[in-house]
Structures are given as C-alpha cells and as structure tokens.
C-alpha cells in the first residue's frame, strides 16, 4: 500500500531521518490506531532525533514553590453538585504535515490551556488537576498534562496526568475530570486532549533496541566488542509505523470496509453523508458560530503563519467530485475513500470543568453540565466501530430518556460508513435487543438532530482532541436550539464506544 522507504544519515551529531512518502493515501498504525493520510503529496518528512547528550547542571528554577495545590475551600466529601462546563476551546483543526508541522503536542496544548484560563478569568491556583489525552505515544512529553503547566509558567503546584483512550481520549478526560468533581476531590479541573501527527516519534526495531541497550549496559570494552558480532545494520533502519490494529491485524479503514459490507452501506449513501457534513460545517463557519471555540495559533518559524480557521472543511465539494475519488483501502471493491473518511489532523482542545457551586461563586460562565458518561466495548473482529450504537442507547436508558427526549446528537465521524452503520444499528430491533440489551429498537436518529454543524469528516479528527471539540460544539448547538439535552457518541480503536450526556443551562451562556 505504501511505497515508502526510509533512509538515515548522521549529520552534525544529529540523526537525520528521511521518510519518503509517495503514496496518495498512506495508512499507518501506531500501536492501536490507524491513521489515514489523505492526499499526501510526494514529499519528504524530516525529523531530527537528537542523540542523548550528557546534561550539565540544571539551572536554578526561578521560584520553585512547595505549597500544596490551591485547593481553597474544596469540600472533600462526595457531593451531588452538578458538574459545570465553564469553557471549551480548541485550536483550528488542520491537515497533518501542513501548517502545524513546527508545532508539538505540548505547544498546542499550552496554547489552548492558557487561553481558556485567561478567557474565563479563573484563578489558575484553584485548578486542582489537569487531565489530558493523547493517542500517539509521546516520547518528548509523555505526561503532557503536567508539562503544559510547567512550561506555561502557571503555578507549578497543579498536578496532571495524561491518558490514552484512542479517539475517545478527551471525552474520557472530560469524564474523569467530572468524576473527580462529583466525588468532591476537586472543584476545578482542566481537561483536554491533543494530537499532532506532524510530530510523531519514529522508532527502531526491537532488535536494534536490544542491541543498543545491551551496549550501553556493557561493563567493558571487551564486552562491547563481543556484542558487535550480533550487529545487524538492517535492524537500524527506522521502523515504519505498524500498519494494523494490533489485535486484528487490520487497518482502521479495512474495519470500516467490513462495517460497510455487513450493514450494506452503499458508496452513494456514504458520499451523500460526507457532502452533508462538509456543507453543514462550512455553513457554521460562515455564520461565525465557531468563533467562541477557536483559539488562533501563530505558527511557523517566525510565528509568521496565523491560523484561525479549520482547513479541511470543503463547503464547495459536490457529489460528483466525491464520486470520482478512488477507494483508499480495498482498491478494487471498496467504498471508503479519502472523501468519506476523516483525515489525518493536527489540533488540540481544552474544556474547563467546575463544580456548580464553585462556578457560581466565582462568576464563571457556564455552558452546560456533564450529566453522565458510559463506555462499552465490542469484539474488534466483528464491527470495530459500532460501539456508539450500544453506548448511546444504554446511557439514555440509564436516565430514563428515549430518542425523542434529546434534541442534539453528536456522533463522531471516523468514516461515513461507520456513522451510517451506527444509525442503522440503533434503528434495528434485533441489534438493540441482542447487543444493547434493550427491549425494542432505540430508533433512527434523524439528520435534523445529528451533527448539525458537521462532524469529523469535515473538521478532521486529531484523535486526542476530538472529544473536547464535540463537548463544546454539542453544548453550543443545544443552547442555540434551546434543547435541554445533548448526547455524544464516539467510537474508538479496540472496539470501544463512549457516550456522554450533557445538559444545558436553559439560560444565557458565556
């Protein structure tokens, strides 16, 4: 599928690694998530892997503090207080290997986090915790949540952790933040997520790793020379990222194809859906509805590139042009194309959550409330991305709500085929009985309630950041539509599906 080859050279003590990409569609899998790189131009990705160097004595920190986190007045017993969403922002979502190529997961995370705190005017010392999501393993900043606090210059007394739940990552960081608040452990938590595929770590083979670690632990020169006989230069070619979901050996796209076949989702239905989502997104942008959520980014070498809009949305696309795109995975008989699949995307999102009491006492804006969340998992070998069609009905059932009680549905769009599969499944009585344990079919979510401002097919899908984007969007749409409830469903690698129930304030926002 990819006609890529890698080459490496050592220059000025830096290991330069060149990865030549000459496929129009490059599909890669990092451990458990498949990326689809749409229309990657023939080009070179250059990455510098700096060799570890002995560090000098560290500089003295300017004003290290050893006080506890500013947990003023936090009650420490479980509360039944509602969890308020006090703000939700994100960077523009842009095609990977594009304008954000000089950004890192840390830099984009910092940008949204500091901006959100500044806009809400919250006292950063009151932030009890930062919960962040990132999907591609980070070698430079494995715990972005903590590092973003340290690098931003915010009070160094706020702890943080970073989680990985693939595409549902930041939906989970919002969930975990809400849980802490509901349990009374925290009153103010910053949640979010990020993905910068332009900055993915490239690794060596296991053989090379074993060789290097043995060499570094060798006690004598003689021992080192002894190891040399095992030296295999081939092992030192950088390892192209694995191409499959670890457990099934299939790419995400191939799983999408399986779902399209099993649910008989035609190419036309997929393209029509893709067209709708792009149009809706383009309209929302034109109306200026996205303004409150977008944090502009100055990027590039001299910070000379100003990015304040998403760049994947195609409002001018047509069914004809979508129909012309060749299938990306099953080249002969497939129906999934670059046009009806989400693109490889860079971006970050942040959501500020607080106990209702704290938010009101401190005059924070309230967008709405996190009511509950629910995650399910299915056998990945069957329909990898069908999870939301189980999670959403089950979550609503838990709260005694039916399809018609909710005015706003946000189903994450990895592939048009996957969204349509989920919609069909929820309308299917057998599926709902057997798989979701319902008494009857949940029903068909009408397009008038679904992804009203478009979805990930149009905006793109930075894995760790999508959940945060959707939380903000769902609440803003629900507010506009004067709908009390909004529900989110996100499918994730490993056969998982997560749903979240949100409630609006019924009064003014922001």
């Amino acid at each position: 599928m990819t006609k890529g080859f890698a080459r490496q050279s050592i220059r000025n003590g830096r290991l330069l690694l060149k990865l030549h990409v000459d496929a129009h569609v490059l599909s890669m899998n990092f451990g458990h998530v498949t990326f689809i790189c749409l229309q990657a131009e023939k080009g070179t990705i250059q990455m510098g892997l700096r060799k570890p160097k002995a560090n000098g004595p560290g500089r003295k920190s300017e004003h290290a503090q050893e006080t506890g986190s500013g947990n003023e007045g936090a009650s420490l017993s479980p509360t039944n207080e509602r969890v308020a969403v006090c703000g939700a922002v994100r960077t523009p979502f842009v095609k990977s290997f594009g304008v954000f190529e000089t950004e890192t997961p840390l830099s984009l995370s910092l940008r949204v986090a500091t901006e959100l705190l500044a806009r809400t005017g919250v006292n950063p010392e009151h932030v009890n915790e930062v919960v962040w999501a990132a999907t591609v393993p980070q070698t430079k900043n494995p715990n972005i949540a903590r590092d973003l606090i340290l690098f931003s210059g915010l009070p160094r007394t706020t702890p943080g952790y970073t989680l990985n739940k693939a595409c549902a990552g930041s939906l989970q960081s919002v969930t975990s933040a809400a849980d802490s608040i509901r349990l009374g452990r925290a009153q103010l938590v910053l949640a979010g997520g990020v993905e910068v595929l332009s900055d993915v770590p490239i690794t060596y083979s296991d053989e090379a790793r074993r060789f290097l670690t043995r060499m570094s632990r060798a006690k004598s020169l003689k021992e080192k020379v002894g190891f040399l006989k095992d030296f295999n230069p081939k092992a030192f070619l950088p390892k192209p990222p694995a191409l499959a979901e670890p457990f099934t050996g299939l790419t995400m796209g191939e799983h999408g194809e399986i779902m399209a076949v099993k649910n008989d989702i035609s190419r036309e239905r997929q393209d029509e859906f893709a067209l709708m989502t792009h149009k809706r997104a383009a309209d929302a942008i034109a109306r200026g509805d996205l303004k409150p959520e977008i944090v502009p980014v100055w990027t590039g070498r001299d910070k000379s590139v100003f990015v304040d809009t998403d760049n994947i949305v195609r409002g001018d696309t047509t069914l004809d042009s979508l129909a012309k795109i060749k299938p990306a995975f099953d080249k002969r008989n497939g129906t999934i194309t670059a046009g009806n699949a989400s693109a490889l995307t860079d971006g970050a999102s942040a959501v500020l959550l607080a106990s209702e009491g704290y938010a009101k006492k401190n005059g924070l804006p309230i967008l709405g409330y996190v009511v509950d969340s629910h995650t399910v998992a299915v056998d990945p070998r069957d329909q990898l991305l069908i999870g939301p069609s189980i999670a959403v009905p089950q979550l609503l059932a838990r709260h005694g709500l039916g399809l018609d009680d909710v005015g706003v549905y946000e189903i994450h769009e990895a592939f048009a085929a996957q969204v349509l599969s989920c919609l069909d499944a929820m309308a299917n009585e057998t599926f709902c009985r057997e798989r979701a344990g319902l008494d009857a079919a949940f029903g068909r979510i009408p397009f008038e309630k679904l992804n009203l401002d478009g979805g990930s097919l149009a905006y793109g899908h930075p894995f760790g950041a999508t959940g945060g984007r959707i939380v903000g969007r769902a609440l803003r749409i629900a507010h506009k539509k004067k709908s009390r409830y909004a529900v989110i469903g996100i499918c994730a690698a490993g056969g998982m599906g997560q749903a979240m129930l949100l409630e609006t304030t019924g009064s003014a926002q922001e």
Partner: protein, 737 residues
Amino acid sequence: MNAIENIKSTTGTLRFSWENDVCIIDFHDESKSMNSFSQEILKDLDAALDAIFARPSLAGVVFTSTKPGVFAAGVDVGIFDTLRTKEDGADAARSLQRLGARFAAAPVPTVAAINGTCLGGALELSLAMQHRVCSTHPSTQLGLPEVQLGILPGGGGTQRLPRLIGIAPALDLILTGKKVDARKALKLGIVEEAVPENQLIARAVKIAKATKPAAKKSGVKMSLVGHSMHMFSSFEKGLADVDITKFALESNMIGRSLIEKKSLEQIEKSTKGFYPAPKKALEAVMRGISKSLEEGLEIEAKLFGELVASPESRALVHIFRIMTSAKKNPYGKEAQGQARKLVMEPLLSGRSPVGILGAGLMGSGIATVLADKGMRSVLLDREPSGVQRGLKGVSSYFEDKVRKRRLKRFEALAAASRVMPALEYKSLRGTPIVIEAVFEDVKVKHDVLRQCEESLAGEPFIFATNTSSLPIADIAAGAKAPWNVVGMHFFSPVPKMPLVEIITTEKTTDIAASAVFELASKMGKNIVVVKDGPGFYTTRILAFLIGEAMSILAEGASIEDIDGALEKFGMPVGPITLLDEVGIDVGNHIISVLSKPFGERLVIPKELEAIVGEDRRGRKNSFGFYTYLEGKKDKPDKTIYRHLKHGQERKPFDRQEIVDRCVFAFMNEAARCLDEGIIRSADDGDLGAVFGLGFPPFLGGPFFYGNTLGRAHVKDRLETLAKKYGPRFAPAAWWSK
C-alpha cells in the same frame, strides 16, 4: 565542632571552631546582606591568624562562610573613600597582599571552602590559600570584577590567577570581570574540587589534614619554569590532558606577546580608550608573569594605586554606589506589602500574567524580559501581524540564547511559552497590571485604557503607561481609577537597556508606584522615580542635547563632525545617529510635545520640518540623516544638506565647541530638573543619564561630572555660551549652590 575561647573576633564577623585540630574560620557578617571585607575586618582576621598559628596542635586552617549564598563580595567599597592618592592605593593593595601571603606561607595547609558569591578581594584571598574547594550550589560564582570599578585586582589576583590557571584564561576573567560557576571554576583549575554544599566543610578539613603545607614543598613559585614543568608532567599523563595551545602560547615569549597583542586589540575595541583599568590590568599580568611572585605583586600594587586615584575609577565607583542605593524601594512598608500581595505575588507564582498592550518592539521587548525572569504575560495587539512580530521578537531572543549556549533548548521553550498571544481584551482577565506600549498619542492611550477598564470590569488593575513624553496626568485623565495610573518608561531595546523611569502623578498611590517599582526591579532594571512633567527627566534632557545638535547642524556643521565630536566625548553614539535610531518622526513628535512648555529654551531649527516632511524616519525606513545599505547605517546622507544653510559646503566647527554646547545644554537641563523637583536627587539624575541615555559612565553622570569640573566652572561656561548663543544657556540655579 567546638567553639574555642581564646580566639576573639573584634568585629564579631568571624567565628572560629575546631575539627580534628583544623581551625575553621567562618566569615559571617550579620549586619549586612553581603559579606565584604572592611579595613577593620581585615585587621581582625590578621590578628586572629596570629592566635591560630600559635596553637601548637594546629593541623590546618579552613576559611569559609556559612552565610547563605554568599562567600564574600570582596573588599567593601567604603575603603575607596580613604584612598585619596596613588600611595594610599598601593599601600592598601600591599596590606591585602600581605594577608594573602600569610595564608600562602602558613605553617599548616590553608584551604578556602567557597559556597556562594566569591568576588574580587575574596577570590584573591582564596587564591592565596594553598587549596581551594567550592560547592556546586548555583549561588557559587567566582570572579574578579575590579575592572568594572575602574581598578584592577590588587590583592594578588593579577599575579596568582595566571600562575594558577594560565595567562589566557586568567586574562579572560581579569579583563572582563566575568563570573564563573563551580563547573567552570573546576575546569579552569581555580578550585581543586567542586562538591555538594553539604560536603564542603568536611572535604576542606580532609584536604587540610591530608596534605603538607606549601612551604615544605619545593617549587612553590609557579614562574615560567614551574609552569612548563606542569605542562611536561601532564605529557606523562597522556596527550589527551595537554592543552597544546596553552603550552605553545604561554610558555614562550613569542606566544605571550601574541596574547598581549590580541588582548590589547580587544581592550581598545571595548573601551575605545576611555577606560584605563583593563590596560593596566593587562600590564600587571604580563609584566608580573615573567618576574618572581614578590616582584609581580609589587607591580600590581603600584598599578592598583594609579587606578584607584584615577577620575575614571572614582566615577565608576560613584555609579556602583548609586546603583546599589537606587535598588531600595522608596515607598512605605505598608504600600510595599500591599503591592507585593496584590501584584508581585500573583506574577511570581504564575497565577497572573502581566498584560502588555501593543506587540511592537517595546511590547515584545517587555514580554521577553518578563519571560526571561519567569513571569507570564499576555501580549495583545489589534492585528494578528502585530502579534506575529511580537512573538517573533520573543522567540528569536531565546533562540539566540540557545545558539550561544546560554540556555538549553527546553529552557528557551519554557521561556517563550510564558508569552501568551492575544487579540482580544477578554484574554487580559485576571491580570493585576497592564503595561501599555501603544502608539504615542493621548487618544490611543485613552482608548486602550478604556478597553481595559471594560474587559477587566470590577477587577482592580494598575495601568502602567510606557510613554516617553506624554504627561501621565493627561493619560490618567478620564480613567476610572486615576490613582492606579503610573508612568513606566522603558528604553528600547528593552532586553538591553538597563533603565526604567517611573513617573508618578499627584494622584498615584504609593501602592501602585511601589508595585511598578518592584516589577521593574524584578526585570533587572535600574530605576529612577521622577515626577510627572513634560518629557519627565530623560526625554527632556535628551531633547535639549539633540536640539542643540540640530542647531549646530543648521548653522553649517557636517553630520559627521557633530556625531564624531560627541562620540569622542564618550557618548555611545552621536546625537544625530541617535535621532535616526529613535526615529526622526518620533523625535519630532516628542519635540512638538516639549516645545510648548520649553519653547523659549528648546530651540529647534525650522529646517527640521523640511527634513521630516520628506518622510525621513531614520533607520526604520532606511531614510534619515544617514544612508542605509541593507538595513545597516552607512554614510551621512548629503542630500539632506540642501535644506540647510550653506548647502553642500559644510563649515568646519571646533570639536570642543560642539561638545560644550551639546553637553552643557544637557547638563544644564538636568540641573533644572533637579531645581524643579522632577528628579529627587543628583544621584538619580546621574543614574538616569548613564543607564537611559548612555552618558559616559567614566564621567559618572551629568551631576558627578559637573562637580568634577566644579559647579562654578560650569556656571561660567554656561554664561559664556549664553552670551554667544542666546539665553537658552542661562545657568540653572543648582550651579550656584
């Protein structure tokens, strides 16, 4: 450690204790924040040595300080007052040398155990000891900053350091006054070991016990032969350890003269001949190294004496003193406490950012310095492209530091990340202080102030306005909280210029003024607090200098003659070059502001209007009094002369006359500012002129220089100038005092 009874410190600054027969001398002056050697303390130490050396069981002496972060900052500058003549100076040097010699020739091993700042005389005394060990604590910094005070290390430093570490590295420290940390000190060989601070004393005692006193070893004198021997012995250790260049350069006459020549060139370049100290220090090193230590020390003492009595040293010591005293916050305890709580603590903890309005060169520079000092800022501009220029300025400053290896890459990243870009005022929420650096127009200033008030509704904030000439009271007029409006005049480029002028109005509260004072000092700036008035202090006196230069130009002098004359006088750049740098449009704007109140005295030739009318703005549009080639200043632009009398035929002007007219106009206006109470003291006037305007430090500032010349003399000269050129030179009252 057991305290002992029979050795007393008459000054109470020395404490003695014993460990395994090793006497530990702890220098700890509790009356001051820094340890420094006064005459009395030196005598005290001298007498204590008699008692210590008299102990029969004595095994060694360790000299250290338990004062946190400080070993000793050298000899107290108070000593300078007692040194009136060359002979006084040479004697003072000899007495410090003699004390060093006692440690050097002690009957038992002597060890300096250095933790914290160790500068000047303190390092010289340490160099005289037989061994040195220091802590790896970040506060441990070693250096010989004497040249910065216009003198040279007179306590043996110019002799012992090159003998210890080699000529070239020693000159690098002595001629620049730079400080080195523990790692570098160990690498250079200044200390034998660098250990964690909790192990320092134990290690020093161990060294004292394990070694024999120097006097009993052969080859004490590290002269030429000794040094070569050292090099040869390192050959045995293996080639890798030998510094070939050092060997080639320093162990023979040709190599040494090469070093001397290179150093002289360097000195000429950096001092332009205005500062004699580095040259004399070089002389002390180069002449001393080929002689015995004793002869070398005598050369050093004599040269030290010459420098101490020099006017340059007196001026530099004066500046050092006024700098030190200007660091004190002049406001009441109560106001200081409030300012700290409301402004500085939130900024230093990272809770709140400083708001900066306008991301131009000024705004960007302010953000850069704040980030460098660990503070967050929100850099706001109307235009994305404005923010972009600001962010670029910030990141290129830190990138440059990474390139020069002053910062690690992650440190630069963290620093640059402390600057948050913004386009909307709502991003300023939670900031206790906003510094505006927008266009110099009262309307624009009023507009941004109003927008801040709207966006920060209900949150009190200080509005620090960075203006060079607009009266603060005018800017504060219409403010909801005029008592929170303070002038905070930075100088461009902010990271380089070491002064901030703080301007208070009658309404400004002490809390607001104190907060701005604390912030400026955290930014590492020298501060003068001045009263509100047209042009405040620095802008006003500079306008008079530039105005006079313009008059001379209009009378027929050439651009290069005027700039050349003032550069020869010691100004870093001539007044016309300065006008190009600041921007002719900006200069003209300032003059238009100042001509109203000072119109009678501030005479600006009308020809300037024609020059401004051609849209000449100076460096920023490469079109000014000078021509610019690819952004670099080239030659005077002769086409400008067509607007002036005599056209291309410029007339020769007497250099001294040019200098006198410009400098006396400048000094006279400074004196008027003091007469009017714009500045609080002559010292503040000196500080502002030297650090804000580049008045020659070796002259000590306009007031110090006036006193050096004699006020009566200045008055006479002004009266003569007034007769010749007009009443604008009428002497200020201060000259008659």
